[in-house]
Amino acid sequence: MLELKNISFDVQDENDHESKGILKNVSLTIEDQKFIVITGPNGGGKSTMAKIIAGIEKPTSGQILLDGKDITDLDITERAKEGISFAFQQPVRFKGITVRDLINIASGEKLSTGQACKYLSEVGLCARDYIDREVNASLSGGELKRIEIATVLARGTKISVFDEPEAGIDLWSFHNLIKVFEKLHDQTNGSIVIISHQERILNIADKIVVIADGEVVQTGKKDEILPELLSGTGSCKYYGEEE
């Protein structure tokens, strides 16, 4: 179980040097084996929260507990070792590092080709075509996104956080992506946290958390939250730039 307790995150405004609260006293519990989707308008603090879970950002105040252990002061590597995985909204490109290298690093051991390919097949990539390709600019956004997800699958940790897995993906890839998450939802043993604007991803959530203006404005089961979100002002689909 992952608990965020009274997390605040402030940044200094570049223009007037005023301190601005990106997250304001946010508390959230991620129960074991639950599929949780965090949604809300752009700029509301969702990505920041994901980065705080992974240790990429340090909260200004508050506490993070993983299975009761305080991990607030652990760095990225230490948190990864404690069992937290993070899929980037914009996957990183490398020169010379292959898909196989990334999957081996993620799994923490040298996998056989068959084992490594299994993860690629799970995200709908024809493994043989990809396993020895470099994770560089020659891959499309959709391919990179799926490889990014495969590295998280290869880790198989207690907590997996996906920051807007649908961002930058074309309709065709998106269809496949939904299937990947549906399968993940059915099969996973760990907790999954997805930041998303997509109704179809919200639709497979056990719990939906709505974050707006740095605060949790709603938390509840899909059946309670989703109808309200969809009937609310406009739509919950905030397609747009990253926060």
């Binding site: 590597t77 990864a80 937290i84 995985s85 990183v92 490398f94 020169k95 010379g96 880790r155």
Partner: protein, 305 residues
């Protein structure tokens, strides 16, 4: 051969003992082994200044190894090796020099290699430079590669220098006839106070000739690297050069490209990028459980792979 020589031989030529096929092994200024094959003749020059390698036309799938070992401190030599590659042949040439310097005097090997590549011949040329030894004497290598490619000929050159060489100036020149092409892949890593200078110059004189020069380098500590490339398009041709460097610590890298089109149908491109390891690359690998140092190593190893 003693253990030091054997280790160097393995580093620069990837061979454990005497190679098969044609070879010439030079150790501390003398040839310690030479073999010609039915199609490849290795002939020492009369004045002892180097060797001539003659490859008969139509020779296919054969290789020549010409490693050089320097394990005496204070040895300073310049060697002139000439290669004559017959038309329609397809061969691999493995050169390379390793210096083991435990003494206090500088050791230097300057290999001047001239290639005459015949019509429609293909040459894969692999060159590795390596230095070791804990003496105060510098390990210096200044190779010159001078390539003349006739009509339809091809040269692919892989040049690698990972650590250990204190000072190097590498000069590679190529002149291309019609339909000839040259590809150079350079991989370089410097550390400590090392200095490495690379100079490429290609004249694409022939119609439909092409040149592709790709350099990837990592400069660590207080080392310095200078990359110069000059590509002249003198006919309908295509030229591309690329310098991609990672700097770390207090290192410095300069890239000085020059591309000149002297013909309306010459198409020339140069790309250069120098920078430190991207922060998000480190973060990504750290989220997979690597420490910052391990992540750095993975990125550098991948980059120079």
């Amino acid at each position: 051969m003693d253990a030091v020589e054997q280790k160097i031989l393995e580093e620069v030529a990837g061979i454990h003992e005497i190679p098969t096929g044609a070879y010439n092994i030079r150790s501390n200024g003398k040839s310690i082994g030479r073999n010609s094959s039915a199609n490849i003749d290795i002939i020492p020059k009369g004045d002892g200044s180097g060797i001539e390698v003659h490859i008969k036309p139509g020779t296919r799938n054969e290789s020549v190894h010409i490693p050089v070992i320097l394990s005496q401190t204070g040895l300073n030599e310049t060697v002139y090796n000439d290669f004559f590659i017959g038309q329609d042949s397809d061969v691999t040439i493995v050169a390379g020099c390793g210096i083991h310097n435990c003494g206090n005097q500088d050791s230097e090997h300057d290999g001047i290699h001239t290639f005459h590549i015949g019509k429609n011949a293909r040459v894969k040329y692999i060159e590795k430079h390596y230095g070791e030894g804990d003496g105060n004497g510098a390990r210096i290598l200044n190779p010159v590669t001078d390539v003349h490619i006739e009509e339809g000929g091809t040269m692919e050159m892989d040049t690698v220098q990972i650590k250990g060489v204190d000072s190097t100036k590498r000069v590679t020149k190529a002149v291309l006839a019609d339909n000839a092409s040259v590809t150079v892949r350079e991989k370089l890593m410097t550390h400590g106070n090392q200095y490495a200078e690379t100079e490429f110059s290609v004249d694409m004189d022939g119609e439909n000739s092409s040149a592709n020069i790709i350099s990837r380098s990592v400069a660590k500590d207080a080392s310095k690297q200078v990359f110069k490339s000059v590509i002249n398009g003198n006919n309908k041709c295509a030229g591309h050069s690329e310098c991609d460097a990672i700097i770390m610590d207090e290192a410095s890298v300069s890239a000085i490209p020059e591309i000149t089109a002297n013909h309306l149908d010459a198409s020339l491109i140069h790309e250069a990028a120098i920078g430190k390891i991207a922060g998000d690359q480190l973060i990504k690998l750290m989220t997979l459980g690597l420490s910052e140092k391990e992540a750095e190593e993975q990125i550098v190893n991948g980059f120079l792979k």
